[in-house]
């Protein structure tokens, strides 16, 4: 077995093995109820890998059969990733009653606007694909990546602006997905420009390595306890005194 093949197998197997660990961790830490869609996505990715890996190693299975399963699996994966992004939005906004409605509206409108932008970008971009199937795939790939990346960037910026605490698992999941979506967007843009087969192995390896890092990031995020913000009741008078002193100083300026 050659080194590139070994690397490919490692990058194919390792992230999914780690995702199985991630799913087990989520069950153990009772996070399934908090992130049901992300858990479903994690389990689904493992199952999809097992099916594809089995087909790949079956002598009786043809390349067409593998492609069909891969395409169908990829489509479900895309839908699930959107559902995860929606779950992240819901999780972020649900603890703020004033923003619950705003979060839903923002998600819907941002998706629509990003979809329009993505369709326009793809429509005006040049490409080298002549095969209808690969052309459709690269177009869908790019549109999906632009929307997902855009939604996550929007969430991160909004969270920064609204001073949401960066202590929850939700942001860890969002950032992991964001790493993957942004790298995938860059790769899909390169593929659309230079063709699916151009530097195929290199780009595929980068994509798989990114996913590997993304799964590792999720595991690292869920491994550490959710950081507690300091409780006000621990030293309220002392803290308030500092607060009031600063305000008094400002009064005399």
């Amino acid at each position: 077995m050659t080194a590139p093949r070994l690397l490919f197998l490692y990058l194919w197997i390792a992230p999914h093995a780690l995702q199985a660990v991630l799913a087990a961790m989520m069950i153990h830490r009772k996070l399934v109820r908090k992130f049901p869609v992300f858990f479903t996505y994690t389990v689904y990715e493992v199952v999809q890998f097992l099916v594809l890996f089995t087909i790949d190693h079956l002598d009786s299975a043809s390349a067409d059969q593998y492609t069909s399963v891969w395409l169908a699996g990829g489509a479900i994966s895309i839908v699930l990733r959107f559902a995860v992004v929606h779950e992240i939005f819901s999780n972020v906004f649900q603890s703020y009653p004033a923003l619950q409605e705003f979060g839903g509206v923002l998600f819907r409108w941002a998706t629509v606007v990003l979809m329009l932008v993505a369709v326009m970008l793809v429509a005006y971009s040049s490409g080298s694909e002549v095969n209808r199937l690969t052309l459709s795939l690269t177009i869908i790939d790019r549109i999906v990546n632009i929307i997902q990346c855009g939604l996550l960037v929007l969430l991160i910026l909004l969270a920064r602006f609204l001073s949401f605490p960066w202590t929850s698992y939700t942001f860890g999941i969002a950032l992991g997905l964001g790493f993957f979506a942004s790298v995938e967007l860059g790769i899909s843009a390169l593929r659309a420009q230079y063709g699916v087969l151009a530097e195929h192995n290199l780009l595929t390896n980068i994509s798989m390595a990114t996913y590997h890092c993304c799964v590792l990031f999720w595991i690292a995020t869920l491994l550490r306890p959710e950081r507690e913000r300091p409780r006000l009741s621990s030293a309220p008078n002392h803290n308030l005194e500092h607060w009031n002193n600063a305000l008094q100083r400002l009064l005399h300026q």
Binding site: P97, A98, S125, V153, I156, G172, L232, W243, L250
Partner: protein, 179 residues
Amino acid sequence: MTITLLSILFAVVALFLFVLRSIGIGRVPMDEAELSEQIRAVDLDAFQNLTDSDEEEYLRTNLPAAEFRVIQRQRLRAAIEYVGGVSHNAGLLLQLGQTARRSSDPRVVEAGRNLVDNALRLRLYSVLAICKLCLRIAFPGTLLQPAGIVDRYQQMTEGAAQLGRLQSPSRGALISRTL
């Protein structure tokens, strides 16, 4: 090719943002002493004066058109600075409210929740107000008042004062006087 470059540029910027934010995950939230050092004084009366329609009408009537436009733009720029200060303070009070929501005292939790709600609304409302004021700088003749910002700011500072009173009854009201 340009579109491809734009897509790649967006991907790189997004990746940079995600990496930057992931570094921030482990950062300890600011304590109240740090928050209070960053508070900005906001003169509500001056702001109300700058956005008062009667005052504007008086200037419009008594000044030559060109001079009115110059002065009105200066007034609106100053108003934007005030709104920026209000928004900045709302961001700080938001963090205070977030911390209060985790208190063991249910009354502090409730006051913290109210403060967070009001500060969030105000922060979003400030963006809208700044957009309106920018539009008015571009078109000084339009009548787009950032109405409601003062009410919301007072609502929020009352929330902060209520939270302060719950923690230390004798001193809490100072917050609303200062903000």
